[in-house]
């Protein structure tokens, strides 16, 4: 329980930072869609930063979001550099399965999972893919929890006003 709370604390801190960064770089006013995108972007970057780029999905998230903003680039670079020192970003070997019947179904689903998990297309090893998915799920849960809490607080305070 402590670990999960610490993850969420980290995530909150980083989210605040990224929100600030985005806020300073984007011109006002924004419409709702742009705001949503900005919030989504900042929370994704924060989630990846919480993971410190130690996993493939976090690095893929960062590189995915780099397209959309230039201000988060220094942050992204820093995270990627740190990650590169720890790990090499190479893919695993290609393994072949006999493809027939049940294996075909598994294979199809694996590809679908790859498309969901950021950076999953780069992973050929099913074992590693599932490990990445596990990690990603935990952090997604943390992200959802935090966002839900913030939304709940906000609606409560709005009710009171």
């Amino acid at each position: 329980m402590n670990t999960y709370n610490m993850v969420k604390q980290e995530f909150i801190k980083k989210w605040i930072t990224t929100l600030h960064m985005l806020d300073s770089s984007v011109e006002h006013p924004l419409n709702v869609t742009e705001r949503k995108n900005a919030i989504r972007l900042s929370s994704d970057i924060a989630m990846a930063a919480t993971r410190s780029g130690a996993t493939i999905w976090s690095r893929a998230l960062i590189s995915r979001t780099r397209k959309y903003t230039t201000t988060c680039k220094p942050v992204a670079h820093r995270i990627l550099k740190k990650a590169r020192n720890r790990m090499k970003n190479r893919c695993t070997t290609i393994t072949r399965n006999g493809i027939f019947g049940a294996k075909m179904r598994v294979r199809k689903r694996t590809e679908l999972l790859k498309s969901l998990v950021p950076g999953g297309e780069l992973i050929y090893d099913k074992d590693y893919l599932i490990r990445e998915t596990l990690d990603y799920i935990v952090y997604l849960q943390a992200q959802v929890d935090v966002m839900r809490t913030v939304a709940a607080i906000d609606s409560v305070t709005r009710d009171l006003s």
């Binding site: 329980m1 709370n5 989504r40 969901l116 596990l134 409560v156």
Partner: protein
Amino acid sequence: MDNELFMNTQLHPPPEIAAHFEQPSSSSTMLNWSLMDPNLTQHSPTQDYFSWRKSTELQQKQSIFDSALSCGGGDGFIIRELIGKLGNSSATPNRTTPLTEFSGDPGFAERAARFSCFGSRSFNGRTNSSLPVNNNGKIVNSVKLTRVSSTPALNGLVSPMVPAGEISRKRKHLTKVKSKETPLPTVSPAPSFSKTAEGKGGKRRRQDEEKEDNTKGPEPPKDYIHVRARRGQATDSHSLAERVRREKIGERMKLLEDLVPGCNKVTGKALMLDEIINYVQSLQRQVEFLSMKLSSVNDTRLDFNVDALVSKDVMIPSSSNRLHEAGLQAESLSHHSYNNNSQLHTNVSSSNMMLPSPVNSVETSTLASSFTHLPTLTQFTDSISQYQIFSQEDLQSIVGMGVAHNPNHESQNMKIEL
């Protein structure tokens, strides 16, 4: 940082929480506590699964306090305390949103936390999770032929994130090593070895010198996986490696079972993957929906100084029990009577540490609103004074104590570290 991030988790028993929550149901003035009580009894994974199913169809309108409850651990209690202090009138959430409830029970979050060590990179002395060991034990017995000769590999189920490059190196080495036949070493104490089938005559024993990909980082692997060919199966190196790989995948699936709610009924890799895909998709959709919801935040009343908030010196109580207890006491305070000063003052020391956390949460909402409004950053004391608008006198005393205990917060600018 990752080392600290994934430490031993203490299991906080869910029934205790449920028992505590039975108390507030008596008072009905402020909040829809009664609405939450039946939901609190959902602690079993199967019920989580069903509630997840229902909520994915968006048929269920949950109270926001329920969702506030459902966030794991201390934060949920902090939020609740905050909400409890805030509501003076009988303001029930009229605008309940169809928030989906996923990690509805703290036990589930606990399991998630346990498997969060799945992603840690070094595993020194981290033998907290007994569950994977049990899994491994089961698997070893069932498989009957794989034997891990040294204990570090037993913890390898919840393994650190090994570099992908290293995996490729190891796998290549595996195929290279397998080409040469080496006789099994004479010293090989293996209780499970006795379970292995005899096989036909002429069965060869192979030593699978596979470098396990779940050793710590760049350290040279010390353990071997001895794979014995089963009776009537191919014994060439490639199929053995394949089989080991498949078993590892099976182990991972079992881990995933615990993480994704409601997977224990599902057997087979395809269906498991289905569940996982559904879960990931729904989580991602939730994030989308929540960010859309947050983008409509229009709250500028609470503006805080970020520097004062995000500080390294914010102490998180190490024992979750104390936090829960403090949160529960604070919450029962909000319900029964507002004159229970005695309860309050006993928890002051822990309460002032809880204070920065709810402030953090409100902070993000104000930042979200700042996209349309100019952000006005005020001092920490101003924000504290704004709390007094909503709070009872008791909270004011907490705040006073908190400020008194941490006089540095409003004066200094703490560093934000990323």
